[in-house]
């Protein structure tokens, strides 16, 4: 199952990484990628704000292992607001979603006949956009591995500056190596 390409968007909506993993993919201009990243970032924020209680298009099949004693088991319920926390209401409402590892709001999946775009936003606000074949399964496994590689080869690289474009040769190498090893 093919992974076509990966885009990473920083907290501010800037494009920091873009790679293709299949030969012969149609390339966009750098500017188009920037626009794509910025647009997606904006749409993501809007979808989140208009439908904060949107049923999740669950991309992860495994149950969350978060220490959320009051987690509701099913999506699409109104906040139980049983959380007797001093936290602001917004963060407690995020938490009540069944998959707190992924902020419960915002566009997570976009599909056409020919490809699927899956978005994974980390709790820190970085977005990973993965373009795959529409029939591909276990995208969450791929996404998780990409996040781990990012945590290793980008975050632990002293020459990488946070929020800046990712130019880490060993990240490229390990990412490509891992994706190739999968197929």
């Amino acid at each position: 199952m093919a992974v076509f390409s990966l885009i990473i968007i920083n907290k501010a909506g800037g494009l920091v990484y873009q790679r293709e993993f299949q030969p012969g993919l149609r390339k966009l201009s750098t500017n188009d990628y920037l626009v794509l990243a910025g647009t997606f970032h904006g749409v993501h924020a809007i979808t989140r704000s208009i439908t904060p209680k949107l049923p999740l298009v669950a991309t992860t099949t495994n149950p969350p292992i978060a220490p959320t004693t009051a987690t509701t088991p099913t999506p699409n319920v109104t906040s139980p607001s049983s959380t007797s926390t001093p936290t602001p209401s917004s963060s407690s409402s995020t938490y009540t979603y069944p998959n707190p590892g992924i902020p419960a709001t915002g566009l997570e999946c976009l599909e056409t006949d020919k490809f699927r775009l899956t978005c994974f936003q980390t709790l820190t606000g970085t977005k990973f956009l993965l373009f795959t074949e529409p029939t591909m399964v276990n995208i969450d496994v791929v996404m998780k591995k990409i996040y781990e590689l990012y945590a290793d080869f980008v975050m632990k690289n002293p020459f990488y500056q946070l929020e800046m474009p990712v130019r880490c040769e060993s990240f490229d190498r390990n990412l490509q190596g891992w994706l190739r090893g999968r197929t």
Binding site: A45, A66, P67
Partner: protein
């Protein structure tokens, strides 16, 4: 199951199965050489060394949080008490293979202490016998910065400082952690 027990279990499991290991002495000695270098660069001005260590920790924390999240796969905490358990039982476990005790909560649940029975960073360390270091230097101050940096990335502003350290001749090593506020910039308004 309490959130502490659950966090403990997660932390133990991760340490056993998901964490790449290195010789502990390599880490201890590397940290020691960092502190020694700072003491030299700042000419024995220990207040400045504390500050620099905190700053280094802050830089580390902002990056380390991604590793923590990628490895642990845990979600957002419901409250600060859960956060404390997560820090102690998962965070400290996967990065330093310890789980400092969470205790001394204030009644508003916004402040707690971490008590360190073990501290690999300070293993085999003795502060200089110069009549000042034991009063002024917080050898493990980098940890305060790590917590501040890491939590800031998940929308929590905190303040952390050591209040005692066995290296100073105290009977315990204790860090005080206070929640200042939740940072809300990216949070959508709640629609209830």
């Amino acid at each position: 199951m309490s959130s502490a027990t659950k966090a403990s279990r997660i932390g133990e499991e991760l340490w056993k199965t998901r964490v790449d290991k290195v010789n502990a002495e390599l880490v201890t000695l590397t940290y020691g050489t960092i502190v020694a270098q700072l003491c030299q660069d700042y000419d024995g001005n220990y207040q400045e060394v504390n500050k620099q260590l905190e700053k280094m920790g802050y830089n580390i924390g902002m990056r380390l949080i991604e590793d923590f999240l990628a490895k642990s796969n845990v979600g957002r905490c419901a409250n600060f008490r859960e956060t404390a358990d997560m820090i102690s039982k998962v965070g400290f476990r996967i990065f330093l293979n310890i789980a400092p005790t969470v205790t001394n909560w204030t009644s508003d649940n916004n402040q707690f202490s971490l008590i360190f029975d073990e501290n690999p960073l300070a293993d085999f360390v003795e502060l200089p016998d110069d009549g000042r270091a034991q009063d002024e230097l917080w050898f493990s101050n980098i940890l305060c910065g790590v917590l501040r940096g890491a939590l800031e990335m998940v929308q929590m502003q905190i303040e952390a400082h050591f209040v005692s350290d066995v290296l100073r001749g105290d009977d315990t090593t204790e860090m005080r952690v206070s929640l200042v506020r939740y940072i809300e910039d990216e949070m959508p308004p709640d629609e209830e």
